[in-house]
């Protein structure tokens, strides 16, 4: 594994801290009822979106789930636009109609934000098919949880991608639970990379708590896909530090297990390594946190100041304004 230079590491660290603080702020705002509906936090899993996204080009596409705040931010959607969307305001990246589970951004080719488990996977197949037909060397990164692998849509899509050699990076975020259902109770074969390889595509597992390992794997995978090598599946082994959503009593796992995984916090893992390598001061984290916090507060202020859509335009965008293309 080629270790990254201090500058790059610092960038990765900052990105992870940003996503972490952004979502912790969202949790507060949820308690204050500024954010409503379902809110699924990515806390603990940040290394995956951070490590993969830095290797995507602006013209590459990303497809996420309902746990996609980090993916949207890292694909280039502004914190203001994401926060305003959480608030359901007109300046949100989906105009306030999507909310937390449906972040979209055409300019940055972020295709959501999908609240149907597995529902985004066929979409990624189609985006990649369009690139292949047009002879473009773009890659589509498709993020989903391990629970989605039980869905028929996952299976059908994996087969299509491998059969047609489509430029898709399948990023399985295996946090070991689908809501309250542990992997062993949802998959007969818990070696997910093995399962994926049965579709005849390269597949391997990687430590999803180590952003450098993630980034190293993503680099190799994306290079191969872009070169026309067809789809790749990566199982990122990770863990969800917080509840599934804001309504989850977490009866299905014990505190000890959570505590054990928190030992592997992706932020501290990288930070400690940087300190050990003398690339950063041991008290530098607070400075980074303060820096990102000001940016996050700007986003919160922006969202708060953003207007609510008037009900008179509610029906708009059900269909295109003028027909004919």
């Amino acid at each position: 594994m080629i270790s990254l230079d201090a500058e790059t590491r610092r960038g990765l660290l900052r990105d992870m801290v940003f996503v972490r603080r952004f979502e912790e702020r969202c949790a507060q705002l949820y308690q204050q009822t500024k954010i409503r509906g379902f809110l699924h936090l990515y806390v603990g899993e940040e290394a995956i979106a951070v490590g993969v996204s830095r290797l995507l080009r602006p013209d590459d596409a990303a497809v996420g789930t309902y746990r996609e705040h980090g993916h949207a931010l890292l694909k280039g959607v502004s914190a203001e636009a994401v926060m305003a969307e959480m608030f359901g305001r007109v300046d949100g990246c989906s105009g306030g109609r999507g909310g937390s589970m449906h972040l979209f951004d055409a300019e940055h080719r972020f295709y959501g934000g999908n609240a149907i488990v597995g529902g985004g996977i066929p979409l990624a197949i189609g985006l990649a098919l369009a690139d292949q037909l047009a002879g473009r060397d773009r890659v589509t990164a498709c993020f989903f949880g391990e629970g989605a692998m039980a869905e028929g849509e996952f299976h059908e899509s994996m087969n299509l991608a491998a059969l047609w050699d489509l430029p898709v990076l399948f990023c399985c975020e295996n946090n070991r639970y689908a809501m309250g259902t542990a992997l062993e109770r949802s998959e007969a074969e818990t070696d997910l990379a093995l399962r994926a390889s049965a579709y005849g595509m390269p597949a391997w597992p990687v430590d999803g708590m180590d952003v450098e390992a993630v980034s190293d794997t993503a680099a190799r995978a994306i290079a191969s896909i872009r070169a026309g090598g067809g789809p790749v599946f990566v199982e990122f082994r990770t863990y969800r530090f917080r509840a599934h959503s804001m309504y989850d009593p977490e009866l299905y796992r014990d505190k000890a297990e959570v505590a054990e995984w928190k030992e592997h916090d992706p932020i501290l893992t990288l930070f400690d390594r940087m300190v050990a390598d003398g690339e950063i001061e041991s008290d530098a984290l607070t400075a980074i946190e303060e820096e990102v916090d000001t940016e996050i507060e700007r986003a919160v202020a922006f969202a708060d100041a953003s207007a609510e859509e008037g009900v008179e335009t509610m029906l708009r965008h059900l269909y295109a304004e003028e027909v004919g293309s």
């Binding site: 359901g88 306030g96 488990v117 989605a148 689908a178 809501m179 259902t181 949802s186 609510e308 509610m314």
Partner: protein, 331 residues
């Protein structure tokens, strides 16, 4: 939750459905509950909380995220002599299982010449209003009522949350119970013993001479509120709670309209090609010469429900919209 043999008890919709399932599983060991997170998680809306501990993982069975397969497995288990209760977290995800529901569960008895019945109960949460946006807020209850071979019911009272499961499980054919998410947390009085109301019977929840509000499920309470508001304006609205969407209890609907001569159908589903049009058409077919005004319809705006609170509220049926429609139907 107070308990007593004699007087009614007060409980939430969630508690009522849990009590119903618990009772059914004690009474008949062919009954089991299967679905996503019904066990260890306690149900995504905490409906089956505690049932895993009471009945064990065989009878309170967590499934993988495989809607089509576990619904199909419910059909097969019913064919195999069991009485499964299959929970689909929400109607939004049931589209993934619609092939099994329409092409197998609904057709099997008729196409096998009466040999195979499917005594299956499918429960799913339905409805919007919780800012869950486009993919988590569908109300397809009425739309499902298009399918011959199924029975579709939608409890609108806590008493029905408690007692509709009994006849549903006793029914030899597939029954889908649509549970409006808003009612899980709502409290209501529940009769301590089975009132024995048939599955397919509509009920007049409020009597009134001037017009009939036909509704069900999540909008029943809204209609009762609207009826209250109307009565302050001197308009006495009768409220018919359909309870069963397939079959529809034409007798009760028409019986009311023949008395009031005016009707408004209130449905949280979308208007076009939905339940509201069917009820309106049946009223015209069976009581045309009794009608003093066209049947009105109050439905959810025909858009995917937006996350933004103010938009979602404006899109859903409301007391104001019902009152306006009722007033319009009066002149």
């Amino acid at each position: 939750m107070r308990k007593s043999a004699a007087e009614p008890v007060t409980m939430t919709g969630r508690e009522a459905m849990r009590a119903a399932m618990t009772e059914a599983m004690h009474a008949d060991d062919r009954v089991f509950l299967m679905g996503e997170d019904v066990g260890r998680y306690g149900g995504c809306f905490a409906v089956s909380m505690g049932m895993l501990e009471e009945f064990g993982p065989e009878r309170v069975r967590d499934t993988p995220l495989s809607e089509s397969a576990f619904v199909g497995a419910g059909i097969g288990a019913a064919l195999g002599g069991m009485r499964p209760i299959v929970e689909i977290m929400t109607v939004n995800f049931s589209l993934l299982a619609l092939d099994q529901i329409m092409n197998t569960a609904a057709t099997l008895r008729h196409m096998s010449g009466g040999q195979f019945g499917v005594p299956l109960v499918i429960r799913m949460t339905t409805g919007g209003g919780r800012q869950l946006a486009a993919q988590h807020s569908h109300s397809l209850d009425g739309w499902y009522a298009h399918i011959p071979g199924l029975k579709i019911v939608a409890p609108g009272t806590i008493d029905d949350f408690r007692w509709m499961l009994t006849p549903a499980l006793a029914d030899p054919d597939p029954v889908i119970i649509f549970e409006n998410g808003g009612l899980y947390g709502a409290s209501g009085e529940v009769s301590p013993t089975d009132p024995g109301l048939p599955l397919d019977r509509a009920v007049v929840r409020r009597e009134g001479r001037d017009l009939t509000l036909v509704t069900f499920g999540g909008t029943l309470a809204t209609c009762l509120d609207a009826a209250g508001a109307l009565s302050e304006r001197g308009i006495e609205a009768e409220v018919v709670d359909l309870r069963s969407l397939r079959p529809l209890d034409d007798e009760t609907i028409i019986g009311s309209v023949v008395r009031t001569h005016r009707a408004v159908v209130v449905d949280e589903g979308w208007r076009s090609v939905g339940l509201s049009g069917e009820v309106a058409a049946r009223i015209m077919e069976q009581a045309f010469y009794e009608l003093d005004a066209p049947v009105g319809r109050v439905c959810t705006a025909e858009i995917p429900l937006p996350a933004a609170h103010q938009l979602e509220l404006a899109a859903l049926p409301s007391v104001d919209r019902i009152v306006d429609a009722a007033v319009a139907a009066m002149d």
